[in-house]
């Protein structure tokens, strides 16, 4: 089995077999990342396609300071943000005043299927979804998010709180639905 280094070398030389091997190694993981940022599966495929083209175009610039998977994830996120940027600007995010009302109840996500959770995340409004992904999943600070997206730190915080509130509501609804159909894990 070829190592990442071998694949990087092959891709840098434009070897199509290496490109395909690298794609096959990472595409499924990256698809999850793209699905989190996209509104639909079709949009996620577009992000994945564009992201991998960027990966192959810039692979000679990869300096192995981080893992290849992390580097590709970052490219996918940037590609997704570029795709979403217009939407973010079109729908300027305003501070949400409901942050104080978030209930800190424990909801176990392990009871849910990945696709259900992805659907819940995709159902968030664009601004909330981006901030939620960047803050909760990728681990960026609100300051970094404000620099990446061009929104203020306060807006990022309030959007995140709103995302949390919406997610809690949707998860609760999903849980209730599952209970009704007897699908909940006991």
């Amino acid at each position: 089995m070829l190592t990442d280094e071998d694949l990087i070398k092959g891709c840098a030389n434009g070897d199509r077999a290496s490109q395909k091997a690298l794609y096959e190694r990472y595409c499924r993981k990256m698809m999850v990342t793209c699905l989190r940022y996209a509104k639909s599966e079709h949009e996620a495929e577009d992000i994945l396609q564009e992201g991998f083209v960027k990966v192959f175009s810039n692979i000679s610039k990869f300096r192995a300071e981080s893992q290849l998977g992390t580097w590709i994830t970052r490219i996918m996120i940037n590609t997704a943000l570029n795709k979403q940027r217009s939407k973010v600007y079109m729908l300027p995010m305003v501070d949400v005043k409901e942050s104080h009302s978030i209930q800190e109840e424990e909801v176990s996500l392990s009871n849910f299927h990945l696709n259900d959770l992805l659907e819940v995340v995709q159902s968030l409004p664009d601004g909330c979804r981006i901030v939620f992904n960047l803050f909760a999943i990728e681990g960026y600070s609100h300051k970094e998010i404000s620099e990446m997206t061009g929104i203020s730190v306060g807006t990022s915080k309030s959007q995140y709180n709103r995302a949390k509130s919406l997610l809690r509501t949707k998860i609760e609804a999903l849980e209730k639905e599952k209970l009704e159909y007897g699908q909940a894990t006991i």
């Binding site: 794609y23 396609q49 176990s108 909760a136």
Partner: protein, 443 residues
């Protein structure tokens, strides 16, 4: 659930998670990569074309400079001679004790150049002092007067005949009226041959000629304008097509063209010539396509969207490379203007060509699918007759009495679309090529 718990639980859900990816995504990635590679290749081709143009321009400028430089040098010599002539009286007045006088004698010719020069003394004396180097004309072969010649004395022609050697009279004509016309017997090589007007045209006998040549260069179909709906509609109707995939094909920006042909020409006047002939032309360009057409015998044929037949069933598959090969029979007619007509010739050609379409072949370079060839005719999407504009230069060199070899850079632009109007696709090919031609001169 605390804030860190909330984030951790969500992070945990997606960490290491995987989701299925449709195969079509890789196909699209591959298509994009092929497009990018083509773009890179195009950039390289453009770079090398520009480099070649710059080298040619530089060579031309250097040649011009050298020619100018040589002209200036001779012009300078002539200017000195002119100055000598205008200052001959003052020179003659130099002290005879310190002066060695050099009378430069005029040809005892009373016709031709001299005939126009009645007011000018027939004798020129160039003084060469020891202390002041006034000027010199010619070289040491000039006749030298005796040391005690009184330079203040005006020579009569009869006195000078003694100094005149038995040289043949040389009639010197200058091409440009603005140049100084020397009225003294010129001692070669005082003037380069190219400044002299030749009474005989070296190439006057190239009245009729025939040539055989070949050319190679780049082929650009230009911007392809198409109606996008036809193939999508066809795809949606076809049961062979997956609902998510669409037939796509990407064309390389630049292809290659080569041609071979015979020409015959006739010189109309000293500068003008007309030439025509017959040529066989091939224009290649590469495509990447993700679908094939299905022939009636169920074989898969190479297909691209630009020339798609909407009646044909198609099948989507992984991208593959196709070469589109157009073949034409060309009948060019050109008028040429000779900019330089010597041993090295330069001729500017312009004209029209009637290009008769022979065939188009879509060839799968991997050999996985059948090649698909379409000829001319009523059913063909290609126009049978095309009209092209031609323009080019012909830099030639005479090798022997009856042969000339020529380098012929040129452009060809087809005025009409190569495809018929009813195909809903149009493009106008543009060819930039360089040819090599061997001419045989009949008379």
């Amino acid at each position: 659930m605390g804030r860190p718990q909330f984030e951790d639980s969500w992070k945990g859900v997606f960490e290491g998670a995987e989701s299925a990816v449709p195969d079509s995504v890789w196909d699209k990635v591959e298509m994009d990569l092929v497009r990018m590679e083509n773009k890179t290749n195009k950039t390289r081709v453009v770079f090398y074309q520009r480099l070649a143009a710059m080298v040619a321009l530089f060579a031309l400028m250097m040649a011009s400079y050298i020619a100018y430089d040589r002209t200036s040098d001779d012009g300078g010599a002539l200017q000195i001679a002119q100055q000598n002539q205008s200052s001959e009286n003052s020179e003659a007045n130099l002290n005879s004790n310190t002066t060695e006088a050099k009378p430069v004698l005029e040809t005892p010719d009373t016709e031709g150049v001299r005939g126009k020069n009645t007011g000018v003394p027939t004798t020129r004396v160039v003084a060469k002092t020891n202390s002041t180097n006034t000027s010199t004309v010619g070289n040491s072969n000039l006749m030298t007067a005796p040391a005690n010649v009184n330079t203040q004395k005006s020579y009569r022609q009869s006195d000078l005949t003694a100094f005149i050697p038995d040289w043949p009279a040389i009639e010197v004509k200058l091409k440009s009226k603005g140049f100084y016309e020397p009225n003294f017997p010129r001692e070669l090589p005082a003037m380069p041959s190219y400044l002299m007007a030749s009474s005989k045209n070296d190439n006057a006998n190239e009245a009729v000629y025939a040539s055989l040549g070949f050319a190679g260069g780049s082929y650009n179909p230009g911007t392809v304008a198409s109606e996008p709906s036809s193939l999508s509609r066809m795809a949606s109707q076809s049961s062979f097509i997956s609902a998510q995939a669409e037939p796509q094909s990407a064309r390389a920006t630049i292809g290659t063209a080569y041609s071979i042909g015979v020409n015959t020409g006739k010189q109309l006047s000293k500068r003008w010539a007309v030439q025509g002939g017959l040529g066989y032309m091939v224009q290649n360009i590469d495509y990447t396509s993700n679908y094939t057409s299905i022939a009636p015998d169920n074989t898969l044929r190479a297909a691209v969207t630009e020339y798609a037949d909407t009646e044909t069933m198609i099948a989507i598959g992984p991208p593959y490379s196709i070469r589109s090969i157009n073949k034409y029979l060309s009948i060019p007619v050109q008028v040429g203007y000779k900019l330089v007509d010597r041993k090295i010739g330069l001729q500017l050609n312009a004209g029209m060509a009637t290009d008769l379409f022979l065939s188009n072949t879509l060839k799968d370079e991997s050999g996985m699918t059948e090649s698909f060839t379409q000829g001319a005719g009523k059913e063909s999407p290609y126009r049978s007759v095309n009209w092209s504009g031609l323009m080019g230069l012909e830099l030639s060199h005479k090798l022997a009495e009856r042969y000339r070899v020529a380098l012929v850079p040129g452009i060809r632009y087809t005025f009409n679309s190569a495809l018929k109007d009813n195909t809903q696709v149009s493009y106008n090919p543009f060819v930039l090529d360089v040819g090599l031609r061997v001419k045989y001169i009949f008379k």
